[in-house]
């Protein structure tokens, strides 16, 4: 990966403690899986930011390689990949999600 792109990803990850890379945005998710994760994050009451990969082809491709994860949405807390839609669903069901996003600082 180009160093400039890697830097861009890393600075994005540093910009928000809880960051969701998704299709669309919080208000208008453009994919059912992205919408689900937005809904689950809202339930936790935590503040989170989203990044629309539909409007950012460079990040869309680069992040797949950076995280070794081929699909979106991707949820990051403190710069670490927490998972995609399925994992976030499991974490929400087990009550761990609010701990993971809440305990971050």
């Amino acid at each position: 990966m180009e160093p400039a792109l890697r830097e861009r990803i890393e600075s994005l990850l540093k910009s928000s403690r809880v960051l969701l890379f998704m299709k669309g945005n919080k208000m208008f998710p453009q994919c059912g899986f992205s919408a689900q994760v937005v809904g689950l994050l809202k339930e936790t009451g935590v503040q989170f930011e989203t990044h629309n990969i539909m409007a950012d082809a460079e990040i869309r491709q680069g992040l797949k390689e950076y995280s070794n994860w081929p699909t979106f949405p991707q949820l990051y807390v403190n710069g670490e990949l927490v998972g995609g839609c399925d994992i976030v669903n499991e974490l929400s069901a087990s009550g761990e999600l609010s701990k993971i996003v809440g305990a971050a600082h």
Binding site: W69, T71, G83
Partner: protein, 84 residues
Amino acid sequence: MIDARDVKQLLLTAFPDAQVELEDLTGTQDHYQAVVVSAAFEGQTSVQQHRLVYQALNDAMKGPIHALALRTYTPSSYAKQGNH
């Protein structure tokens, strides 16, 4: 698009011990749901387990499969959560 049998074969090649349940969610051979139970997931986090599955599917994830709903279990965690 990719045939369900081919998806299953890719998974079984990577995880020879696996129990694989695969469902074509839309009937269009590009939206699948997979449950994979394998001892290969022992000691791995969920993120690592899903990465192993994505790696097994490799090129199939780069176009032929548009969406994959995925659940991974070790044999013991699968026994604990019961059948479905």
